[in-house]
């Protein structure tokens, strides 16, 4: 049954075909009666959507439209703007800060994304049958995710202290002379990314753990009978069947990494001299808009961030077809 519906050749009815092409999947009522076309429902369906749509429109769509407009203005600190077309964008494209912050954001995203394979491995360990205190370990991994980023940042900042920090003390024990993590332009973004990886691990582990629960245990039993090793089972059953969850986690991680601000701001501190070399895209936005009071230019930075995240996410969805299993 499961296989037949996934095989295009055995599609029987036009309704199912329609459903597979993404049109209305509700074209049949349980009783088999044909459902009347949507347009005859009048205003009712829209009223049901209205509460949610109002929120989205007021808090997401309207600000996006407004930001797009603002990005084409020269705007004072208290509003009051003049339209200048694409002036901010031409200035931004020539601004070296944009490329520095884009580069840093990519480095950060890359390091944090390394957490996903780690999370897959940890999640499958936590999911081993008969593991004692599994719930306890889950809580342990999830705690950083629910802790306030600022609180996390303050603790890590102390640990990263070059002279007196725990990290360099620990490195000293094994004979490594650690750098001034947060005040050296070559390590600052790496230090922030390590914290980012650590604090996002919990979320990925929980989502992937839920994904693991959907894999039928019979598959493992069968594989074991066929003599597959644990590693082989992990590689050939767990990972492929987990790909939808991995995909979801990747999308979320990448989007949130591109929005890096609070961790960086709190770990490095606003008076840090390496900030110009270590800032992220969103920090550039903050700095232009709220420190230099150049709201129009900041809006242009925001539009670039919007665009970059849009493109990266679209790319990921395209690539999804290559590696995500159709479960």
């Amino acid at each position: 049954m499961t296989t037949s519906t996934h095989d295009p050749r055995v599609v029987a009815s036009p309704e199912v075909a329609a459903a597979r092409q993404g049109r209305s999947t509700r074209s049949r009522r349980p009783g088999g009666q044909r459902r009347p076309p949507l347009r005859r429902d009048g205003v009712w369906p829209w009223l049901f959507v209205l509460p949610l749509f109002t929120g989205v429109a007021v808090f997401y769509l309207w600000p996006i439209v407004n930001t797009a407009y603002l990005s084409m203005t020269r705007s004072g600190p208290f509003g009051g703007s003049t339209f200048i077309g694409f002036g901010n964008f031409t200035e931004l494209v020539a601004d070296p800060q944009l490329y520095t912050s884009l580069g840093n954001t990519l480095v950060y995203t890359g390091i944090v994304a390394l957490g996903i394979p780690i999370a897959v491995y940890v999640a499958s360990l936590l999911n081993l049958p008969g593991l004692r205190f599994a719930q306890f370990y889950r809580v342990l991994f999830f705690l950083p995710y629910v802790a306030m980023p600022t609180a996390i940042a303050m603790v890590w900042r102390v640990m990263f202290n070059g002279d007196f920090g725990l990290v360099n003390r620990a490195l000293g024990v094994v004979g490594v002379d650690g750098p001034y993590w947060v005040s050296d332009s070559s390590t600052a973004i790496v230090a922030v990314a390590i914290v980012g990886l650590w604090s996002s691990l919990g979320f990925s582990v929980i989502v992937l753990g839920a994904g693991l629960k959907t894999i039928p245990p019979e598959l493992y039993e069968a594989a074991e009978l066929d003599g597959a090793s644990t590693w082989r089972q992990f590689r050939s059953i767990t990972v492929p069947l987990l790909t939808p969850s991995i995909f979801f986690v990747t999308i979320i991680t990448v989007i949130s990494s591109f929005q890096l601000f609070d961790l960086l701001y709190a770990i490095l501190g606003s008076a840090n001299p390496v900030l110009p070399q270590s800032m992220s895209l969103v920090y550039l936005f903050y700095r232009e808009g709220f420190v230099n009071n150049d709201k129009g230019y900041a809006a242009a930075v925001a539009m670039v961030i919007f665009l970059v995240i849009g493109v990266v996410t679209a790319l990921q969805f395209r690539m999804q077809r290559r590696w995500v299993q159709d479960v």
Binding site: G76, F78, F164, G165, Y180, V182, P276
Partner: protein
């Protein structure tokens, strides 16, 4: 030239009108606006039964106790004005205020500082105090003149300081004793300071102790040395950083770091100068008078004394102070101004001073501050008023403050030559100033 509308009449009208009093208050308040053409005095003390709910926004939680005392005294005079104090931490205060200003929902009365006064005043967001001054309710002569100037934008006075701070050298005498270095007495020169700092770093190297700490922020460090060298930071819309005087003021800190008298730039980023000092690892810390509050519960406070800043071409220190300003958009301007006037009064500032968290600005109310650490010679901060220069600001100070924090560290650490960095800074700063 002063118009004196009969107070009795106002009061009678207010009594008669009862609930419409608020509206009357508004109308009255609007008259005091910047127009100036129709009214000469503009401000009269409101009736004591004036009823209003007003908000007062501040950023320092440690001063709330003193503010509550002030408000209790204020309410004895105006029992029907209900004041809500909103404390927003420093980090978010200015972001929030800017949002409120954009939507004309500013608190009725709020704290203002030097770097931001130009921005808010030049955009018409705050109410001048011209009326109160002309009516004699506030006398600018009672406050340090450099701070009165700080809150004068394009010839119009927007507030008077509620407190002030100057810069001195907080000194750990125990470390001087340990190093066997004599404590300097009286005025001293740049060279004497550099030598003393280097000597302590040298002698106490094994303890990880430093003589002094280099510059990270202008107000407590390099603005002072720039003024001492005879330079300026910003004047008539141009930057002073390209001048030889300013370069000398910056070079001072580069030398201090290069000689090993100060921790490195990275060390100071990881652990700030005040933390070095409070943990007993720094002998001399250039800090504001506000640092006294941080020392209150520290064990090392008994070893602390204050030295005046060293002198080069001239004697100088930076002075700054917070002012209470009334929002131009306030709908309860009459009540807000009544509170503004009260907080500027000698009685209110004496209360602030006695509470011990700040140095009040009103002349003659500062004795409680020096008495709070009798052995620490806090008088240095008060004497400094005589030769103090106001914190350099412009209409959008934040834009070039960001340039300073971006560029100057390269000069301090020796990564780039001082003259190259200052020339670059002057150029970028001039561009930022031209946009104001």
């Amino acid at each position: 030239m002063t118009r004196t509308p009969a107070r009795g009449a106002t009061r009678a009208a207010a009594l008669a009108l009862g609930v419409t009093l608020l509206a009357a208050g508004c109308g009255n308040g609007d008259d005091t606006g910047g127009e100036g053409a129709d009214s000469s005095g503009g401000w009269t003390e409101p009736a004591q039964d004036l009823a209003a709910d007003i908000t007062y926004s501040v950023w320092d939680q440690t001063q709330v106790a003193a503010i509550d005392e002030n408000l209790a005294a204020f309410n004895e005079k105006y029992p029907n004005i209900d004041v809500t104090v909103n404390v927003t931490p420093w980090g978010e205060y200015w972001t929030k205020l800017q949002t409120q200003a954009s939507s004309d929902t500013l608190p009725d009365l709020f704290w203002m500082n030097g770097p931001n006064i130009g921005l808010y005043a030049s955009n018409g967001k705050i109410e001048p105090i011209t009326g109160e001054v002309e009516a004699g309710a506030i006398d600018p002569a009672s406050y340090p003149s450099s701070l009165v100037d700080l809150y004068t934008v394009d010839g119009t006075q927007y507030g008077v300081p509620k407190d002030f701070d100057t810069i001195g050298i907080w000194t750990n005498t125990a470390l001087f004793d340990k190093a066997g270095v004599d404590l300097p007495t009286g005025d001293w020169t740049w060279q004497e300071f550099q030598d003393t700092a280097a000597e302590i770093s040298e002698k106490l190297k094994s303890d990880g102790v430093y003589g002094a700490a280099g510059g990270m922020d202008g107000q407590t460090t390099y603005y002072n040395t720039i003024f001492q060298a005879g330079g300026y930071v910003v004047e008539d819309g141009t930057s002073g950083y390209a001048t030889p005087e300013d370069q000398a003021g910056i070079q001072f800190w580069t030398d201090l770091m290069e000689s090993g008298a100060s921790p490195s730039m990275q060390q100071l980023t990881d652990t700030t100068a005040d933390q070095w000092f409070t943990s007993g690892k720094l002998a001399m810390y250039w800090g504001g008078s506000w640092f006294r509050a941080a020392l209150q519960d520290e064990a090392l406070a008994k070893d602390v004394t204050v030295l005046p800043l060293p002198t080069d071409e001239e004697q100088a220190t930076v002075i700054h102070g917070v002012a209470n300003v009334v929002a131009a958009s306030s709908t309860n301007k009459e009540a807000a101004q009544a509170l503004q006037v009260f907080l500027a009064s000698k009685d209110a500032q004496q209360q602030q001073g006695d509470a011990g968290s700040v140095i009040p600005a009103f002349t003659g109310t500062q004795s409680a501050f020096t008495a709070s650490m009798p052995d620490a010679n806090l008088q240095v901060f008060l004497d400094a008023v005589a030769y103090a220069k106001p914190l350099p600001v412009s209409n959008n100070s934040a834009a070039w403050n960001a340039l300073e924090t971006d560029l100057l560290p390269q000069a301090f650490s020796g990564a780039k030559p001082v003259d190259q960095v200052t020339a670059d800074l002057a150029k970028q700063m001039d561009a930022a100033l031209a946009e104001e």
